[in-house]
Symmetry: C2
Subunit: 296 residues, 2 copies
């Protein structure tokens, strides 16, 4: 079976029983940040979160959910299926270190927020390397550090921003708490003050073990057992995570790397590989027929 449209195929063949719901999930990628700026939606939330919170599964009761993401890290023809954590949770943070500015030649009259900010950034490294369980993935990236405008003036404030990624909710909670504690106490150690804001973005994308096994079996019948791989997970994030947090299911990666496009996700030269569309459509169609055989 090689289909270009799961919905058209299932509607015309109707070789299944029961109900299948297809969801268009808008506004992925946008919560909390967009091209470096904080994005304020009317509701402050991504599409996946908003749909679940507005009662998606009350309006359309589902026993299980499945999704798929094109994935340039896998060759076209491969399908990545993995039980458990596939993609990370995301929290973004802002740390404002407030000191006391003044003449750059009179350090004794200042409290240097730039130096304190540097101590905070280096101290934060220890959360990943010394506090987290080594087998629980965690990333804390300080991606912005802005302080000062003149050669000769110690600034009043240093503004740090960054992102925190994890799989395990306990590790995630620990890391957020430690981040706040280390920023505040490191600032206090130098007579400065750190104000920390945490912006919750996405939970981790966690596949149900039984559903992942089922999906892998279906995918194997479409692309062959050898072409279904268990991928190394990533702490990049995904708002289908909200659906998987509400219902058991499986999020898959559809390999699309080809000789004509080597660009990675989010690169401006990325070009979707149309050749893999029938692979994805066929897996979804087969999944429906497998889960709800006709005549049952």
């Amino acid at each position: 079976k090689r289909h270009h449209s799961t919905i058209r195929y299932l509607a015309s063949t109707r070789d299944f029983s029961g109900t299948v719901n297809f969801f268009f999930q808008p506004n992925e990628e946008a919560t909390g940040e967009f091209q470096g700026a904080k994005v304020e939606h009317a509701d402050g939330q991504s599409g996946g979160e908003l749909m679940v919170r507005q009662g998606l599964f009350d309006l359309y009761p589902c026993e299980q959910v499945y999704g798929m993401h094109s994935w340039p890290g896998l060759d076209a023809g491969l399908v990545g299926v993995k039980a458990g954590a596939l993609m990370g949770s995301e929290d973004n943070f802002e740390i404002r270190v407030r000191g006391k500015g003044g003449h750059g030649a009179m350090p004794h009259l200042c409290i240097d927020p730039l130096l304190v900010g540097c101590h905070v950034v280096t101290a934060l490294q220890s959360i990943v390397s010394r506090v987290a369980d080594p087998v629980d993935p965690l990333v804390i990236s300080v991606t912005q550090f802005n302080s000062g405008t003149a050669y000769n003036v110690t600034p009043d404030v240093a503004e740090l921003r960054g992102t925190l990624r994890a799989f395990d909710p306990t590790t995630r909670a620990m890391a957020k708490e430690k981040l706040v504690h280390i920023a505040q106490t490191t600032a206090e150690a130098h007579g400065a003050v750190a104000e920390v804001e945490l912006h919750e973005a996405f939970p981790a994308t966690i596949n149900d073990a039984a559903k992942a096994e089922l999906a892998a079996g279906v995918a194997a019948r479409v692309v062959g057992r050898a072409n279904v791989v268990e991928p190394k997970p990533t702490v990049a994030s995904e708002d289908f995570s909200y659906m998987l947090a509400a219902r058991p299911g499986c999020y898959m990666w559809l390999g699309n790397r080809s000789a004509t496009c080597t660009a990675n996700l989010h690169e401006c030269t990325y070009d979707f590989n149309d050749d893999v569309l029938p692979v994805g459509a066929s897996i979804f169609a087969s999944l429906v027929e497998e889960l709800q055989p006709a005549g049952e």
Copy 2:
């Protein structure tokens, strides 16, 4: 003697022998930086440096030079005179740490220049605290740290800027060399590269011991011995330093702090205390009469 204009007084009384030259020294404060931006003069230099380099003392031969700065750190009526280093040398620097940017959730594929920049800033502290002779004043202030624009993207580069102040030329040279070495090797330790630029601004303002003693004696006759004080020096800088580097002399501070203006130098609310003008004018006039008595 209380005069409002040294030149008018000397020209009308002529109670001295020989020649006195008065210099208007333009373009103080501006080399290398102006309100945070690098200033490129036609000649790239401050007034004091330019005048000396263009042959001031060939055109107007002088055996000694004297200058004075209004000083809100001293009460009106006081005069600050000190042998040796009164104000600091100034060098400004830029450090560009180049790493390898990428996805903020994929640290293993990046070389984080922001973290390396933080290591550089903290490592630079050891020059003042562990390398310099404790009795030789030195200031290294990193006053600007700019890196990154998005929550989710590890940047390619971190840009640091700051200022280096010293009295002793050997300490100054050591600190500049160490700054470059620490920045480069710290970056190298993390697989990054640091490009360092040093912009020489001013030498230290060093008073000749004999000329300072002479100036203090003259000042004492104008304001009374008790009102001539030896001030604590500052590593704020001054381009009269170029004149003092070429000829022995003394730079003095004229106290002008009053109840009506408590603002410090460079503050926008600073208001010169006109009441101290006769004090300064009289000291200069007395200095000329003392150095070159009439009839000699």
